[in-house]
Amino acid sequence: MSEQFQPNVVAFLCNWCSYAGADLAGTSRIKYPHNLNVIRVMCSGRVNPLFVINAFQQGADGVLISGCHPGDCHYMEGNFYARRRFSLMNELLEYVGVEPGRFNMSWVSASEGAKWKDVVAGVVEKAKEAGPFDQFRRNKINW
């Protein structure tokens, strides 16, 4: 790593709002940092909280979960479950010393391409500040 630290953020996006919002940022040619990679799921409610722990283990410096705004969930309630789960996951991670800012959750709708950019920029920036995550990263990762 020669110059500045380039963080690695893993993001879980719901298909209907946030993934569509990220697509919209693309069609609108909005530019944002390249350090965030997306795993598409159908609903933020699908994101198993253990994915977050696993992502940190596997080398992520930051994690983002993004879903529809409350009340907009394509499946009506999935984001409400996600909100409850990840609020606690957020508390738990901070409690054991994972820096605030490494774990993030956002609501980004299919029309919020610009917000998606802000979210990515913000999350990447925070991960950059926090530096490489090494608290409980695996030494050897196979896939």
Partner: protein, 327 residues
């Protein structure tokens, strides 16, 4: 007041019932301060039953572990009740198991034992080291009376009680079919001072604390096995496909295991403290569990294991759940 005679009488009556398979209580362990679960199948075994500050085991754990052996063709599965003796905290485990359908109400007979607090054996063995012959211990107001080989000793409760008991709000069973004696006053207000203290620290301090603790984990899974809420027949945390957590014991896998374990108990942990009690390397597991219990209680006004009719925390939501952490 603890009334052993009454306890044994009721136990005899209970196991003699046609619809009761066996009774789970406590008996003197093999040495020193140890207490063992007592699986009592006939009235003649009642004399072995005890109830004392040593009875820390949460016997509710055994309810979900009942082995379901293959039933020979033409026979019916044994549908008799299992009777279990519970302290306040243990009763919450029973309630939570009912909420999660781990057990059925008509399959258990709950005998409530109001409890004035159990001992932290680590504190006790430090005070009275090297005792191998069985010891009798009793509550007496704000003291604990030890009948040791070299005489009777009185110790203030605060010095030897388990930490969870000092702030316990539920010393009396929240649910029982029969309660053995009068209810007792709760010792604490269930505050989360210890959790708050940890929250005050900066991330580096927090992690150096937990790194130290997690590194020592040997992944014996005792914490999980003793937990009354952990009764999946096939635990995801040591499953091979998919393999969430590798089996090697190192800081990465250990941390992931402990975080996942704590998270799975969010809104379910009834704070009996068994995980911490059985941990061979003294990881303060309750500090993790209690952090989540605190959030669940403070942010969501929810407490597990109180109302068998309530909806489980993890499978419910409120439209106005807090979301100040969301971008």
């Amino acid at each position: 007041m603890v009334d052993l005679e009454k306890m044994r009488t009721i136990a005899k009556e209970t196991v003699s019932r046609d619809d009761v398979r066996y009774l789970i209580g406590w008996r003197q362990g093999t040495y020193g301060f140890r207490v063992s679960p007592h699986f009592m199948k006939g009235p003649e075994e009642a004399e072995k039953l005890i109830f004392s500050p040593l009875c820390s085991n949460n016997l509710a754990t055994y309810l979900t572990l009942t082995e379901k052996l293959p039933v020979p063709r033409g026979e019916q599965p044994d549908s008799r009740k299992i009777a279990v003796m519970v302290k306040g905290c243990d009763s919450r485990a029973v309630v939570q198991q009912l909420i999660e359908k781990g057990i059925e109400r008509e399959r258990v007979f709950v005998i409530g034992c109001p409890c004035e607090g159990v001992l932290d054996l680590k504190k006790v063995e430090e005070k009275f080291p090297g005792i191998l012959s069985p010891v009798e211990v009793e509550w007496s107001g704000d003291k604990i009376i030890f009948t040791l080989p070299d005489g009777v000793k009185e110790v203030p409760k605060g010095e030897v009680l388990a930490k969870k008991c000092l702030s316990c709000r539920y010393p009396n069973p929240v649910m029982s079919d029969i309660t053995l004696w009068d209810e007792v006053k709760s010792l604490g207000d269930g505050n989360y001072e210890d959790v708050k203290e940890m929250e005050e620290k900066n991330p580096q301090e927090k992690w150096s604390f937990w790194k130290d603790k997690f590194s020592s984990c040997i992944r014996c899974y005792s914490c999980r096995n003793v937990c009354p809420m952990c009764y999946c027949e096939d635990c995801v945390l040591d499953r091979l496909n998919p393999q969430w957590i590798n089996r090697s014991a190192n800081i990465s896998e250990n941390s992931a295991f402990q975080l996942a374990r704590a998270f799975h108990l969010a809104g379910r942990c009834i704070e009996c403290g068994e995980c911490e009690r059985v941990c061979p390397v003294d990881i303060p597991l309750m500090a993790l569990n209690r952090k989540l219990a605190k959030e669940v209680r403070e942010q969501y006004e929810f407490e597990p294991g109180l109302d068998p009719e309530s909806k489980p925390f993890q499978s419910s939501y409120r439209p106005n759940d807090k979301e100040d952490f969301i971008l």
